[in-house]
Symmetry: C2
Subunit: 230 residues, 2 copies
DNA sequence: TCAAAAGTGTTGAGTTTACACCCATGC
DNA sequence: GCATGGGTGTAAACTCAACACTTTTGA
């Protein structure tokens, strides 16, 4: 079958990380071409013999050194035929979450730098990458309502306040500490470790960890978690 | 920018309709090529200078005569590199709903027939079209929980039982009539028309219509509607 | 008068929200 | 002893689920 089409297919990845009490997103600095030295989302062109998801994983690994097993397809951007000024390109965007402290970044193929950017301080990016990031954030917020989120973003052991903070950061609003704690603990996918964490001042915090098995169950079944409380 | 890629981009549309108390989906019979005379989802290749959504609308119109203004991007299928045996094709699938009674079907460019198929009786289709339909149905079910659905699927004036039936058909299970009515009426986007509809036997039904303004508000704001009740 | 479909309320259980003070530590 | 962040309970309001009989029509 001969098809005369001149459209290119790219994949882009919006990888969220949580560190320093703030939501971050991973960007790479382009190493070549018209947008050389500009920060963009990791991503690139799909290979002819490669599945979309595989392409996304490959690009992420090549450009950032980050190996993520679970990427979720976010949206395919291709309504604006000039979204890439160099050629007609549609981009299948993927969403993922990870814990930045666990990984070392490594620029490589096509990229000359990699870094975590604070979500609220993302600069203006080429293409429609700001829009992709916004869409990814909207999806992430929506996911909080029906899926437990945290396992991938936090360290193995963490004070409860980290989880509180993570939720407030993603949702970008205050939530009631007592009600939040009640609800989360009610899901039973958290366990106390018995350890405590001291920090400069204030009462030391008990450290919690995810019970992986129960967490995965909840992931599958979904949770009903609309945090409406102020 | 020169990119050596040999990947084609298609769009496919899963259009749901509700008639004869059953959920239907629109299929077309291919008029040419390897899959000539086979039923498939309406769709086709994107043009170089055409946005994805525009392409989906165009293909739907060309192949079925149906003009739909609101299509929702569903998912992009491209993990299986052999999903189309003729060439490497990724397909951006769209989801829409419509009222079959309002439209005349018209096969044209590329298609030699168009018809509504009962959802539960869809035959085995070429490519991954059965999977696309399944994904579309899953999304449609999910949408019931957070969006009012019905406006596009039902006639302008309808008995309440049509809406009940529609929900039961999409969800594929029984729901409690009293609770359903209470909940739906509570949203205030339905209005009594004052008219009644007689049918063979049984008590005649009051006819309702959607209050378009309030319906659209609810669409935007979303609704919280998990129909758990048996 | 019977069959068919439409219409209609209440109650108990569970969930959600709102809200404020004490505790353990470092300095 | 004070500043800092951690930890805790209850009551009122609301929402949800379960459940069965009456009404209106045509045949």
């Amino acid at each position: 079958m001969k098809i005369k089409q001149n459209i290119n297919v790219a994949v882009d990845i919006a990888l969220f990380g949580y560190k320093d009490n703030n939501l971050h997103i991973l960007l790479v600095k382009q190493g070549f071409g018209q947008f050389k030295n500009q920060w963009v989302l990791p991503g690139g062109f799909l290979k002819d013999n490669e599945g979309l998801l595989d392409g996304a994983k490959r690009e992420l690994l090549e450009e950032t050194g980050v190996n993520i097993s679970s990427l979720e397809q976010l949206y395919t951007f291709g309504d604006n035929i000039n979204r890439d000024p160099r050629a007609r390109v549609i981009s299948v965007a993927y969403l993922a979450t990870a814990n930045p402290s666990k990984m070392k970044l490594k620029a490589d193929t096509d990229s000359i730098d990699v870094a975590w950017f604070e979500y609220i301080k993302i600069p203006k990016l080429p293409f429609d990458h700001n829009q992709i990031i916004k869409t990814a954030h909207t999806r992430l917020k929506a996911k909080l309502n029906y899926q437990p989120i945290g396992f991938e973003l936090l360290s193995a052991k963490f004070p409860f306040s980290d989880l509180e903070n993570l939720y407030m950061t993603i949702l970008q609003r205050k939530i009631d500490r007592r009600n939040f704690r009640k609800k989360i603990l009610g899901f039973n996918f958290l366990e106390e470790t018995g350890e405590i964490k001291k920090h400069g001042s204030g009462r030391p915090a008990l450290l919690y960890k995810f019970n992986r098995r129960k967490y995965m169950e909840s992931l599958k079944e979904g949770i009903n978690f609309e945090i409406k409380f102020a």
